[in-house]
Structure formats: structure tokens, C-alpha cells
Symmetry: C2
Subunit: 198 residues, 2 copies
């Protein structure tokens, strides 16, 4: 790996980083190549030296995101509430200092219903149905009183939709991303937890 290759890789990373932030804040269609170029402080033409197209750039981000945000699947947890609390604690915590994960989370959550995202990109996400997976955990946990009563899929849907909503607002309003102003992740866990436990 020559010095130049490293430089190139860093440049690519810079573009990706800025693009992630912009895609999260504004969505795919509203984010212009020119916006990303400006954020990365380079000419529009140069963007195409590093990435074949806007679509390919986005695809690389989605692939990256598919690795990073699937955290819960690989967690070990002693009780099923930890699955959710652990993930949210991490997500909320990092949102303050390293918004990267939050941005990725926002982008990933929108892919499902964004028509401008080509279908081969959507396929990257096959098999990562967060709502489905969580519904199973909730269903299992309900038997032992870990979660409130109600349809597990609906609960899971409500939970992840809420998290998505909060992350989207946090992405858009950085002034909320301080220790003082950040919502407490436990408030959100209460969506599925109810008042059954302590």
C-alpha cells in the first residue's frame, strides 16, 4: 500500500463520511453530488474519479451500513430486554460523539420505501428484517413477563419505528445531541416493556 493509495483511500473515506451525513439529513434524492463535493471540499468532477456514480457511492454506504447496524443479531444477552436496551444504549450514546452510526441507522431505515434506491441495493438488505427478528424475541419474552402484552409484531414495529423517528430528528437537529438534551433510551424501551417490570 503506497502513500498514494493511502491518500486515495482517505479521500474516499472522507467522501463517504460526508455523503453519509448528507444522505441521512436530506435523503438520497435531495442530496446532490454537488452537495457532497462541497462538503468534501472538492470539485464535482473529482467525485467521479473516486466513485463511478452517485448510485455506486450510495451502494457502498449501504453495504457498509449493513455491517454496522446489524449489531443486535450478534449480541449476547442474558434477558431479552437487554437485546433492546443494549442496542439503544449504544445507539443513543454514540449519537452524541460519533453520529456516524446514527446516520447509518437513518439511511438504512429508509431504504425499504425509497423508490429511487435501485432494487439491487435493496437486495443487500434481504435477511436483515429488524422488525421480524425483534418480534420473535418479544414473543418469546412475553411468556416470562419481560414485555407488555400485545401483538409482538406490532410492538416490534412500534419500537423500531419510534427509534427510526428519533434518530431522524436527531440527525436533523444536532442541537439535541448533547448529554443534557438527549432523550433517555429507557423511555423508548418502555414502548415494549410497559409497566410490567422494574
Amino acid at each position: 500500500m503506497t502513500a498514494r493509495d493511502e491518500q486515495k483511500e482517505q479521500r474516499r473515506q472522507l467522501i463517504i463520511e460526508k455523503a453519509i451525513e448528507l444522505f441521512a439529513k436530506k435523503g438520497y434524492a435531495e442530496t446532490k453530488i454537488g452537495d457532497i463535493a462541497r462538503a468534501a471540499d472538492m470539485s464535482v468532477g473529482l467525485m467521479f474519479h473516486y466513485f463511478e456514480s452517485k448510485e455506486k457511492l450510495f451502494e457502498e454506504i449501504v453495504r457498509h451500513g449493513a455491517m454496522r447496524t446489524n449489531y443486535p443479531r450478534e449480541m449476547n444477552f442474558s434477558d431479552p430486554l437487554d437485546y433492546f436496551e443494549g442496542f439503544l444504549k449504544m445507539l443513543f450514546h454514540y449519537s452524541i460523539e460519533q453520529p456516524h452510526i446514527m446516520y447509518l441507522f437513518v439511511i438504512m431505515g429508509r431504504i425499504g420505501f425509497s423508490e429511487s434506491v435501485p432494487s439491487d441495493i435493496k437486495e443487500i438488505l434481504n435477511g436483515i428484517n429488524q422488525v421480524e427478528q425483534s418480534a420473535e424475541i418479544i414473543a418469546a419474552g412475553q411468556k416470562y413477563g419481560y414485555f407488555r402484552e400485545g401483538d409482538p409484531y406490532s410492538l416490534s414495529f412500534a419500537f423500531w419505528s419510534s427509534v427510526q423517528g428519533i434518530m431522524e430528528q436527531l440527525a436533523a437537529f444536532p442541537e439535541m445531541r448533547t448529554k443534557e438534551k438527549m432523550p433517555d433510551y429507557k423511555w423508548i424501551v418502555d414502548i415494549i416493556r410497559g409497566k410490567n417490570n422494574d
Copy 2:
């Protein structure tokens, strides 16, 4: 009002209705005039007979939305929880049969951070800061134990962000909009309510 005028007004309403649905599902930038024209079953050119531009069409929707979604301000409530429960109950209820309000809610919630929305449209919403208003109600209600402890603004932010997230997902996935699958609005109220009450 001649028959022709009525016809014209109906046509305009049809366009608005379809546009609301599409703007809610895909966002402003991703919704093409052609999409709306197709949904309303007319030529693209004809759209411009009814609306000066995409922007003006959107503006009309926002004005309309500014009237409809500001419901909570005008509600009477005996205890402050009713303010939130009443609104959510209404919103969730109508989402099933008349998704119109849900779509408007989604659109309105995105205006704040959508750069493609011109600033004179954003100004329509000045004075309707849902989060701010709710924070005051929460702050007042906390003294009497209606709400959980925590920064009122953060609680309000978390609550409305969650609602926004759920409405966005419901807008995109109509299969969740049935009596059986819909989340229970009380789960969401628990974000601010905590387990202080019954």
C-alpha cells in the same frame, strides 16, 4: 359556482389528495410531477393547468396541513395526559380508514429540515412548534405526577419524534394499517407517562 367550476375544484382536490399521499410516502424531491399526474390519471401538462408549479402545489398542501394537524392546540382536556392521548387516539384511529391526516402529519413533520422546501413555505409553520408547546404542558403536568421525570423538552422531543417515525412507517407500509396490526397509541404515550400512573 358553475358546474364547470365545481368540476375544476374536484379535479384540484384529486390532485392534492394524490400529491399528499405521494409526498408523504416518498418525500418532496423524490415525488415527480409525472408521478402525481399518473396517480391522478392525467397528463403532465394538465397538472400545470391546475397548479402553477410543483412548489405551489406543495405550498397549498402545507397550508392545508397547517390547519388540520394543529389539532392539539384547540383541544380541551381535563388532565394533561388527555392532550396527548386524545391526539394520538385520533391520529391512530384515522390512520386506518382515512390516511389523509397521517399523510399530512408526515409531510408537516419533515418540512423543518427539508432544504428543497422554500423558506416562505417554512414560514407558514412559524408559531406551530409542537415540541415546544408540548414541553410546556409536560413541565406543568410533571408537578402533579402526570408525566415521568426528565427534561420536559427532551420528553416532548422523544414523544413527537416517535410519533413522526411511526406515522412515516405506517404511510410507507399500508399493510400495517389494520385494526389488528396497528400499534396501540397508549404504548407511545408511555414514553412520556412512564409508570407513574395507572
